[in-house]
Symmetry: D2
Subunit: 297 residues, 4 copies
Amino acid sequence: MATVGFIGLGQMGQPMATNLAKGGHTLRVHDVSAEAVASMVANGAVAASSPAEAAGGADFVVTMLPNGALVRETLMGENGVATTLSKDALVIDMSTVHPLETDAMIADMAKLGFSMMEAPVGRTSDHAIAGTLLVLAGGTKEQIAKAQPLFDLMGSDTVDAGGPGKGIRVKIINNYMSIALNTLSAEAVALSEAIGLEFDAAMSVMSGTPAGKGHFTTTWPNKVLAGDLSPAFMIDHAHKDLGIALDLANQVGVPMPMGAASRETYNIARSAGRGRQDWSAVLEQLRALSGLETKAK
Amino acid sequence: MATVGFIGLGQMGQPMATNLAKGGHTLRVHDVSAEAVASMVANGAVAASSPAEAAGGADFVVTMLPNGALVRETLMGENGVATTLSKDALVIDMSTVHPLETDAMIADMAKLGFSMMEAPVGRTSDHAIAGTLLVLAGGTKEQIAKAQPLFDLMGSDTVDAGGPGKGIRVKIINNYMSIALNTLSAEAVALSEAIGLEFDAAMSVMSGTPAGKGHFTTTWPNKVLAGDLSPAFMIDHAHKDLGIALDLANQVGVPMPMGAASRETYNIARSAGRGRQDWSAVLEQLRALSGLETKAK
Amino acid sequence: MATVGFIGLGQMGQPMATNLAKGGHTLRVHDVSAEAVASMVANGAVAASSPAEAAGGADFVVTMLPNGALVRETLMGENGVATTLSKDALVIDMSTVHPLETDAMIADMAKLGFSMMEAPVGRTSDHAIAGTLLVLAGGTKEQIAKAQPLFDLMGSDTVDAGGPGKGIRVKIINNYMSIALNTLSAEAVALSEAIGLEFDAAMSVMSGTPAGKGHFTTTWPNKVLAGDLSPAFMIDHAHKDLGIALDLANQVGVPMPMGAASRETYNIARSAGRGRQDWSAVLEQLRALSGLETKAK
Amino acid sequence: MATVGFIGLGQMGQPMATNLAKGGHTLRVHDVSAEAVASMVANGAVAASSPAEAAGGADFVVTMLPNGALVRETLMGENGVATTLSKDALVIDMSTVHPLETDAMIADMAKLGFSMMEAPVGRTSDHAIAGTLLVLAGGTKEQIAKAQPLFDLMGSDTVDAGGPGKGIRVKIINNYMSIALNTLSAEAVALSEAIGLEFDAAMSVMSGTPAGKGHFTTTWPNKVLAGDLSPAFMIDHAHKDLGIALDLANQVGVPMPMGAASRETYNIARSAGRGRQDWSAVLEQLRALSGLETKAK
């Protein structure tokens, strides 16, 4: 069993730390909230009055904080982790922060001689309590192997994201997609309600199409992901149908800003000569607009 | 077996008509392309020089045309279907048109004494050839029952969308969602590539979260759809994470107009006092912006 | 003095027709509102029960209607203008309609042997009453010269937009710019209020910069319009400053969807290698995205 | 004549510092670029190897740096200005930074006993060279009065923005408006070119309307700014005309993401019951969406 300095006892951090303690590890906890610390101490943890104190003698330091500036301050600021940490310890940042901040912190800690990885988590506070989080591990094989016993107490699934900094990258991409998809879904359902369509009817259809199943596993694999842009459904037709939906929405008073933005991307794709390509070619178009390498033949 | 006037022999119409003919029905076909008509005639169909001629003596008239104006002209214009159609026949528009046009055409045909329903289709031209389309039937129970044998030849699944005009509504909503989701997916993957994340790593994570599975069957049913806005994941946090992704995208040069539009919807939701509600509450926010009834308690 | 068939007596049409009558012309008026017609008849106009009747014996027919479909029906539909109009008369559509509809109507009327031009108007109903509208004339030199005496009664300024169809094009561009600018201005002022800035202070600064004066006559003429993209203010810096404003707006709860959309255009421009070009180079970028010829060296 | 510590000798900073030196002040200059420092030393300035050294003995410290983090580091970091600065000196940040950073820095410097104001500038590097910048002064009356002789050497106009933090706020609002307007203007001109309209014809019309003159001094003063929402031009009509422009743009392949975003704001306004209000009422709508007080009766 190890000694774990755990810094950040919020809605997610507290149950995560609790699960580590239940697993038999010695916890040294720090938080701005004295109440949160006291609650952990009542369950056997050792209170630390600073990050430095939490890190002293620890095998692992876990940070679970609201933003990257706080993580940096906690690690390398005054009375920070770096002032007391053993060179044999492993720092694991499980916060959701800006990936470029993560890269910089790992590099700066390395310059100071410390080993640091990131492991942001997926799912909700209910999963944190149940110890069934999704752990998105960004680190070397060795770091991940070393941290795995801790991950297994906090989560039920660990994904090796492919190296240092890749865990937070997967997290940001996944969150981007799910958070933006959430408002897009709301646009579709609001329009559905506005035109008198029963939700169940709409859902039953969408659950069997890319509308509900997404494109990654349905329309894309044999098309743009395979480098084939021959049309199963043409960009011209997608653009036309989207125009109908937006016209309808503007008649019945449902704002659909994401749909409106999407239409302009198809508009750009058509002007770039992709009108008769498969609709999955919008990925190629985004690559081109981003200065990335396009891949289809 | 019935006589079917089939008007519109394009990429979708031709295989659909062919499947009706294979099923034993007598086809009377019309199209602006003499070539398309000839090809059907070679397989036993009767050529019709006008919609009127196609409709003469028909039990069903099926239209599969590029837009609503053409459907209207075909039905009620000069030499249109209405000039020769039997009052016992059923008109089935399978085109993708504006729902308000569909409503108006059904009403106008009814005034002339004709029975009309709509049944736009889902899936692709490959499915049209295979006779495995998804038929989104908008009509009375009687109309759908009458048309069912035809639908069974053209498709493998028929959805009763809930009444006249509902078939095209489901189609438009489904297309809206899948077409806009397509460009959103492209934004996520372009960002993923720009920050050096392997597609497989990103996909494997997203396939297990709402990013890949959508919200309709995951995060929404026990929350906004059940009238419960207590937070599993707060709008404030979704807004923050989306901000990180957009900042990153703007640093690495990936345009994400849909994500940018989404962020402003969260921004609106926060100013409306929803920051600490569950992220599914964006549906409530969209309802409010649309002048629709909000539903959560 | 001429005989003028005037069709469409709404908020704009009625005062326009009144000014023609005051100028000594004989008016033959038609509208769906009997009340509107009666009001004109009380002032000496002749009531016409159909467009055809209004056009009979007229030297000019003026249409001022809500949309292009109505104009087309009025001109070429049942009991339409074309059924009675003299081949020597001039039809002037002053409605705001879709430019491609205008093109088609002028062409279709020409096929029938009739001379038609368009002349949509700028300014408000107050100007219509005062006879000080801005007339955006789209027609041949001959048509405009012939219509000028009428324009002079309805408006104080006539712009020769450069040929048939150009009047409605100028109108649409001008309206696009002013209507979209209106919501952009609202975003700026809402943000200004949210951060406690006095409107007068903001206005006094903006009135002296492109924010208030626009770019067409300030930053563009010597840069992108002259083919010079050397930076007075770099796209990279514009992108950065816009990011600050959007971050601030998202912190204080002001939705700025247009600003968010704008940022993505700068994002695209940077990925296209324009970061160190003058900010006016966004015009070049838009041209490129539209498949138009770029012009700067 | 005063001693001025000047930190940040970039495209703007160098000519600004040069004009202070020409005015007779003693300059102590610091920059990361040794070359930039050397160039100033050649003209009589004293080189400072750190912000602390630049600030030692100075009456004023001027900072002109790329972002707020650098300004903060320069002022309060290691070897920063605060380590040597006299309590009688005045710090003037002329950089464009995030207003909330400005607020925090002014407050933190005050806690340390230092007087700080901000004075970001408008116009271009040509104006910096000519000493004709626009100075947006945010500070107390006393601070501005003290700094005025310096401002008069660097700029031709000083605006008292209304207090500490207001200078940077005006700057951000002004930049927001001009930078976003730039891309909107590009959308309008690209559409104009795509539909074959001569730029001069479009410009001549727009120069006389709100499209070219803006709304602040034309359509708004007697309407929304006076609390009067009776329509000179209705939101319903603005929404319709914008729809025509977007439809046209999507037909001819000109992407207009800002116009598309604007349309959704009108869409929201209509659903909020503002369709028959004056178009300037979009400001009221934005206020409502932002949780700000609405003002019209």
